[in-house]
Subunit: 157 residues, 3 copies
């Protein structure tokens, strides 16, 4: 492992950390800016991935779609106040090309309702392609362990 790899690793961990804190502190409008202009965001399940099923739970491409999602979320969320706590762990980093870094990491999301109840909301894997030049997600695939969750009104994972 060369110094360059440490730098990559530290930069990727920092990117994941900034992403997570933006969501957990309700700065949802900053979320699209973690992606490239044409960046893709996809939520799927381990089961679907294993079976090669093409249909994701959620798919958005480009910052405009990501912004739309946040806008509709802001509207809907009036009725169910909640927030998330993301944990990210076991980060793996490798260069895919001169331009792109590939990263895999485990995540776990706790949902906290306004009455104080918390529960393990989702767990799974982030599989990312990150642009080296500006450290943004060209693609973030969120592979959830379980299909048992409501994504319609959900804050991004």
């Amino acid at each position: 492992m060369t110094v360059t790899n440490f730098e990559l690793r530290a930069q990727v961990e920092e990117l994941h950390a900034r992403y997570v804190h933006a969501l957990d502190t309700d700065q949802l409008e900053a979320w699209p800016d973690f992606f490239t202009e044409q960046g893709r965001y996809r939520i799927t399940t381990a089961e679907n991935e294993a079976r090669g099923l093409p249909l994701p739970v959620l798919y958005a491409e480009g910052r405009a779609m990501l912004r739309d999602r946040i806008a509709s979320l802001r509207h809907a969320n009036i009725y169910e106040p909640q927030h998330y706590r993301h944990m990210v762990s076991a980060v793996l980093v490798e260069r895919e090309s001169d331009r792109v870094i590939k990263s895999t990491a485990n995540f776990l999301v706790i949902r906290i309702m306004d009455n104080g109840e918390n529960l393990l909301f989702a767990s799974g894997r982030y599989v990312d392609r990150i642009t080296l030049a500006d450290m943004k997600y060209e693609e973030r695939v969120v592979i959830c362990d379980s299909r048992r969750f409501d994504t319609l009104l959900a804050i991004p994972l």
Copy 2:
């Protein structure tokens, strides 16, 4: 990001890790030494922080007060054997000044009772000011996601 930033990041992660292992292995008497002589420790909730309410769930300033807290905890805990498992994640590090590093990190605490039961006890954010010279907490603010927990007899978060 320069090499200096990697060093900072690694040093902060190591500090958080040592703190957590001291608590989880019941070395509570070592806890005050993670703070500066006048170091402040505060537990609050996300709700209180958002509303600007000044009243913390817990406040201690200076190692003497921190030591007192451990002493009373040792006495009380005779009656309810338990321990914690801390997970720390999504660490963000930045220099506040030549002297102080600011760090934000997510945490999650599992409580394990002596009968073997475990539960998600608390989650939230650490917001820290750390002295660069000796890597101690000048201030550790523990912002819990939920107000639903008993802090009176609790091991430090």
Copy 3:
């Protein structure tokens, strides 16, 4: 902390991450290769460790035994489809000798059943001795917080 220590830390974190992803993506046959030829794997509980009880929950020594365990697991698991999600956190790294690194880390394992149910399956500490030359576990001791789990049919922790 010298640059060498950062390198060690990053290498150990990467090893832990690769180990965890192998288990979580059901590449169990790769598991023995994370250990040295005579590597030891031991699951125990915090209670047993504290009392100095020698009897581990599980003990395996050498890759052959580790491979046997996976083989029998493959057979048994036909009847109870499940998988795990490991989180690793608070990694501490120190040199034990010129040849061996000692590492301590907290872990948490979520078990996901095929019907979509998930639960906090286990938490605890990894205490490892890792060979510097090839970054393999010479010894991995998994100290679980609770004795309340079924290890007979369990995927390795």
